[in-house]
């Protein structure tokens, strides 16, 4: 294959140097730190992030304009946060000229489509100042997460401190210190079906993309991709925001990222092929054709 990791200028393993950010971060605190730095240095006016919604562990897209709001959005919520839904509003009533946005690979795709084919997104494209993509294998509807946490893991949503998919397991960490792990096999049927046609694992279209896979616990793998991403990353490094290690030096390293990316793409390409002959002499629609 060879294209599974997308185009990138550099890749490192990194973690932010801000202890406060790191404390509640999912991994290396890359997204929160990047936006906090970009906000402080005027690169962005604000960022669309997955804030806290009306129910526990249900994200809601919010426009964060302060460090405190960014910090409140730390941590992965394994269900849908339609961040793109705010992409026009942020340039309207919020009046922003320099917009930051974080999102899954599909949301980065949506963003770039909106820039290349701006059909309902007038004057939005040029205002994207920093797009941070996060690795994503699949996502879940909110009810799926309730099912997994409350039924399979037998924990209350309110009592969960952190959720994580890693090392072949779905991990649920309770606030009182208890840990439940579910085999990923259990989670598969709860996945969002739309994820099964996705051909992007490491957010190929982000300015910068980041995720846990490939780096040790507490660290993140970071791809610097676009010209813009390169410039922001260089400034953040110069400002001492991150400590980094060369990707070749860390375990499990890029090899695992490549392997998982390949697995995802291969599996989903197969799904797409299956859709073409789904019926009798009829198939389902393929958005990539």
């Amino acid at each position: 294959m060879g294209t599974e990791l997308g185009n990138y200028k550099s890749v490192v393993s990194a973690r932010c140097t801000d202890k406060e950010i790191l404390k509640g971060a999912q991994d290396g605190g890359i997204v929160t730190q990047l936006f906090a730095f970009a906000l402080e240095s005027g690169i962005i006016d604000g960022a669309i992030v997955a804030g806290n919604g009306a129910e526990p562990w249900r994200p809601e897209p919010v426009v964060a304009t302060t460090r405190a709001e960014l910090l409140a959005a730390r941590g992965t919520k394994y269900n849908l946060s339609p961040n793109m839904s705010l992409i026009k509003e942020v340039t309207r009533s919020y009046g922003m000229d320099k917009v930051g946005i974080v999102g899954t690979p599909c949301q980065m795709q949506a963003l770039r489509k909106g820039q290349v084919y701006p059909i309902g997104l007038r004057d939005v494209g040029d205002k994207i100042a920093l797009a941070v993509g996060i690795f994503c294998m699949e996502n879940f509807p909110y009810q799926s997460i309730i099912q997994l946490v409350e039924d399979h893991a037998a924990m209350k949503m309110e009592s969960v401190k952190k959720m994580e998919i890693g090392k072949g397991k779905f991990w649920v960490y309770g606030k009182r210190g208890q840990v439940v792990q579910l085999p990923l096999k259990v989670t598969h049927k709860y996945e969002q079906p739309g994820c099964h046609v996705c051909l992007d694992y490491v957010a190929n279209l982000g300015d910068i993309s980041t995720g846990s896979v490939g780096s040790p616990d507490g660290w993140s793998t970071v791809f610097v991709r676009s010209r813009n991403g390169d410039s922001v990353w260089a400034k953040a490094i110069a400002a001492g925001c991150f400590e980094t290690q060369p990707m070749e030096k860390v375990k499990p390293g890029l090899e695992l990222v490549t392997k998982l990316a390949n697995e995802k793409i291969t599996k989903n390409k197969k799904t797409l092929e299956g859709r073409a002959t789904f019926g009798v002499g009829k198939g389902l629609r393929n958005p990539y054709l």
């Binding site: 997308g6 185009n7 249900r58 897209p61 269900n79 849908l80 946060s81 339609p82 961040n83 793109m84 839904s85 705010l86 992409i87 026009k88 509003e89 999102g103 899954t104 599909c106 949301q107 795709q109 949506a110 770039r112 489509k113 909106g114 820039q115 290349v116 084919y117 701006p118 059909i119 309902g120 997104l121 007038r122 004057d123 494209g125 996502n139 509807p141 909110y142 009810q143 969002q192 079906p193 739309g194 994820c195 099964h196 046609v197 996705c198 051909l199 190929n204 279209l205 676009s226 010209r227 859709r275 389902l284 629609r285 958005p287 990539y288």
Partner: protein, 295 residues
């Protein structure tokens, strides 16, 4: 020489000096406007574009104009606007490379029907600009009964009467999308092989939209995305809706169909309607190319 200097030159009269009228004594005759000499084309290779106004609101044209100074660059270098009732005193259509059509067609209005047919005859490429021309949009709701033409009750998107080559949906369509299509259409018709290839690849999804029919609605998100197992809850549809008819409920679009004006923006903007990865992943290069062309 730019468009402005061209206009300026004509006003000061040192371009092609007009011959004094042959002796005429009739005062009324003298007051008649003298026939203008046809404007000498500065850039011979510009594409000829006609702007055709059917049953539209001129908002699409305003959107075109909202490219501000880039509109002048487009007109200077790439586009010879050969007809456009709102801006140019050319009453009749001539042959043209591209017709950009705004608005739908009232089938009880003979002039409109004749005009859209004539547009197809005169134009090499027909572009439906905006929700009305592509999908009927708000004119889908027309049903006659209003003074002083109560019989004008049936409006159809232009694609129901003529073959349309390319859609630019949206109500209003965005200035940036119109700009991109102008530059790409120029490259398609006047560029070298490589540029033609890029332009074709860029324009293909918009041409496919035109082949995809003349009906659009928020329902498209249901029938063509969610029902097809393709929705992943990104929220683009909600952002692109001009009337806020789409909210995201538990990560999926909820469409308030009585608010929807049937413009087609949500489905066209959805990354799971079309996603031509080869072009979209080159977003930096495409942006460079378009902006470079308009520098």
């Amino acid at each position: 020489m730019g468009l402005l200097s061209n206009v300026f030159k004509r006003n000061t009269g040192d371009a092609t000096p007009q011959k004094p009228a042959v002796v005429k004594t009739d005062a009324a005759e003298q007051l008649k406007p003298k026939p203008m000499n046809k404007e000498v084309k500065i850039v011979a290779k510009k594409i000829e574009v006609g702007y055709v106004h059917m049953s539209g609101c001129t908002g699409c044209l305003v959107s075109f104009a909202d490219n501000y100074d880039k509109l002048f660059t487009i007109l200077d270098r790439y586009v010879e606007l050969c007809s456009c009732l709102a801006l140019i005193d050319a009453r009749h259509m001539d042959t043209m490379d591209i017709a950009i059509v705004e608005g739908s067609v009232c089938i009880q209005d003979k002039l409109s029907v004749d005009e859209i047919k004539e547009t197809r005859e005169k134009a090499g490429i027909v572009v439906a600009l905006g929700g009305c021309a592509c999908y009927g949009n708000i004119t889908r709701f027309c049903r006659g009964g209003q003074q002083n033409q109560p019989q004008l009750e049936s409006f159809v998107p232009i694609g129901d009467l003529i073959k349309v080559d390319l859609y630019i949906p949206g109500c209003a369509p965005t200035p940036q999308q119109i700009r991109n299509v102008c530059v790409m259409a120029y490259l398609l018709l006047r560029g070298d092989d490589k540029q033609k290839e890029l332009a074709t690849a860029y324009l293909t999804p918009l041409m496919k939209l035109a082949q995809g029919g003349t009906e659009a609605c928020g329902c498209d998100l249901m029938t063509n995305v969610i029902n097809q197992g393709l929705c992943m809850g990104c929220g683009s549809c909600s952002a692109s809706c001009p009337v806020r008819a789409i909210t995201m409920e538990y990560g999926k679009p909820n469409i308030e169909r009585d608010l929807c004006i049937k413009c087609g923006a949500c489905y066209a903007q959805c990354p799971r309607s079309f996603f031509n990865e080869a072009i979209i992943s080159q977003y930096e290069a495409i942006d460079d190319a378009v902006k470079g062309a308009l520098q």
